[in-house]
Amino acid sequence: MNTVDLALRNLLRNRRRSLATLLAMVIGLSATLLFGGYAGNTMSAMETGYVQLHGHLQLQRRDHFLYGSGNPAAYGIADYPRLIEQIRRDPVLAPLLTVVTPKLQLGGIAGHFSAAHSTNVASVGVVAEEQAVLRDWDDYGAASYAPPMSLRGTPADSVVIGTGVARKLQLCRELGVQPCPAPARAVTAVTAAPTASSPALPADIAALSAQEARPAAAASTPGSTRIEMLAATVQGAPNVVGLNVVKAENFGLKEFDDSFTVLHLAQAQRLVYGAAEPQVTAIQLQLHHTAQMPAARARLQQLLDGEWTPRDLALVDFQTLAPVYGQTLEFFDSVFGFMATLIGVIVLFTVGNTMSMAVLERTTEIGTLRALGLRQRGIRRLFVTEGLLLGLAGTALGTLAALGLAALINRSGLSWTPPGYVYAYPLQVRVWGAGSMLAGSAAGLIAVAGLSAWWPARRAARLQIVDALRHA
């Protein structure tokens, strides 16, 4: 019979009250953990998606991120193959890397001549084989939403477009895009001839378009997936290439899906740089683990501050490239903090009330123990231990409940569509393995339970012995 044993026996005296207190803690903790697990899984999935898309780090020309989007002429990285080779051979970086690959970002207009439709597009030129490696990254075992790299192994003039782009270009039937209802009103056709609402194209652009259109039109038989892409070259002149759409992919966010196209790097470079030296707008670096970012960043910064200084490059991480990641993280953190605080307050009052009742009921026992020679601190210790034991039991049961419920939810097949997304994600809760969340929540709950017991314990310890012994 030591303090812990005595505290445990006292808790078991009033089982119903102890169980009610435990239940409040179990429900509170499991709700917090389930939300935290859900938020954690969402963040892991988001991180996975962004790392698959952008890599962990990118080398770009300084200010490209803020000012250079759609301006590959001003923000191109020349002699990029040498840089990539240097990164691949670097003794610090090499062991950290899964892949390092170039990317050219450009803007243009995609046209489907046979349907006489066009739309503005944001395009990237990539090395398909290396992008496929990029998309294989899955450090968290998260549900991956990245489709397989359809451009891989396709001819040089191939392009993958968003399903939204396919709809706009009236390529749904050819590419099997669903759903794709016919537009309620006629869409204005792109023609070289002037109309009241569309002025005549400049002669040079019209000639270029016609030149590209001839073979395209020739191939534009029913079922054809040929499109043309128009972009400005580094000299400011318009340039057009004919491309064959190999697949329409759903790129997630509707705004993205409505304008995104992916083509082979060489083709994109031909469109932007023509006969000039080809460049890229970014070098993507993907690491084995996100935790390796500080080491990789430090080494790259060393190179940037040293021999790469004249290249005027900057290092950008995926959190910067996708600000929504940090915003979502902050949002989840604030909701989690709010929930945890609310539940902490509930636990504080529930345990505090239980302990106050216990002090009231056991006043004579407190007086007896004090008379026998137990110091005030011994009384405080006894009641705080009871609070801590309640906290421990609530933590253990709450964690088990959260793990069980998480397993049920994960196997339920439930799904939801996040705001702004065009398809549903599986509803997953990641509690198992979320060590810091489990440890933090457990420590928090036990601390709150101990703290709740402290005030009644202090009151018990300060009771006048003779008053306590007289208590009926």
């Binding site: 005595l6 026996r9 005296r13 004579t364 004090r370 008379a371 005030q376 006048q464 012995i465 012994l469």
Partner: protein, 236 residues
């Protein structure tokens, strides 16, 4: 042990906005090895006097000296330690801890003074035997709720003696017992007082107890009106 000395001890309790004097300038010497009873009508100050001698309360004025220690000079922790080492208590309502077995209740004072586990077990066995709780069946493993009133008071007496105190204070120890059980408990305490050389100080109305006492201190309205000592001495 040194005698218990009280010098000009007063204690007043607040009642609403007025003070009710419970003890008024008590001067008293209680011998260290006797079987002494404090007697008087309700409200005469018996329990207050016991509480002050037991270090459970502090006087408003005057000095209480027990076992050579002036209790007024001790802080709360030191006073708690003093009670644990030098004093034993027997209460009218037994005041056993209901979640502990009889043996564990007896063990509490031994834990408080840091007695090693093996010695504790031995001492508990001795005491339970001394108060008659091992024959014919061992009652040490029963909780207080499973014991009769007499058995509970025996456990309380064993607990009071556990740490080897110099003085056992008992507030109306037979008041909640029938006369037969009360007599048995009284006989037990008398025997243990002699065997263990411990002083017993009671408050009681019980005529059996008054008759059995070595010394009797009479109180009325917070004052000592008479002291009868076993040698027949009478003091006012």
């Amino acid at each position: 042990m040194d005698p218990i000395l009280l010098r000009q001890v007063s204690r007043t309790y607040p009642l609403d906005s007025v003070g009710v004097p419970a003890l008024r300038g008590i001067d008293l010497t209680i011998r260290p090895d006797g079987f002494t009873v404090l007697c008087g009508p309700s409200g005469s100050g018996k329990t207050t006097l016991l509480n002050l001698i037991g270090g459970l309360d502090r006087p408003d004025a005057g000095e209480v000296e027990v076992a050579g220690q002036r209790l007024n000079r001790l802080g709360d922790d030191a006073l708690a330690d003093f009670r644990a080492r030098h004093l034993g208590f027997v209460f009218q309502h037994f005041n056993l801890l209901p979640v502990l077995t009889a043996a564990e209740n007896v063990e509490v004072p031994l834990r408080l003074i840091g007695t090693p586990a093996a010695r504790r077990r031995e001492r508990v066995r001795e005491l339970l035997a001394a108060v008659g709780l091992t024959d014919p069946v061992d009652l040490g493993d029963r909780r207080p709720g499973q014991l009769s009133g007499g058995q509970r008071q025996r456990v309380a007496i064993a607990r009071a003696l556990a740490a080897g105190p110099a003085l056992v204070l008992a507030d109306e120890p037979t008041a909640n017992l029938d006369s037969e059980t009360g007599a048995a408990i009284l006989a037990l305490m008398r025997r243990l007082q002699r065997e263990q050389g411990v002083a017993f100080l009671f408050s009681s109305h019980d005529p059996q107890l008054l008759a059995a006492a070595d010394d009797r201190v009479f109180l009325r309205d917070g004052r000592v009106t008479a002291v009868e000592r076993s040698a027949g001495e009478v003091a006012a």
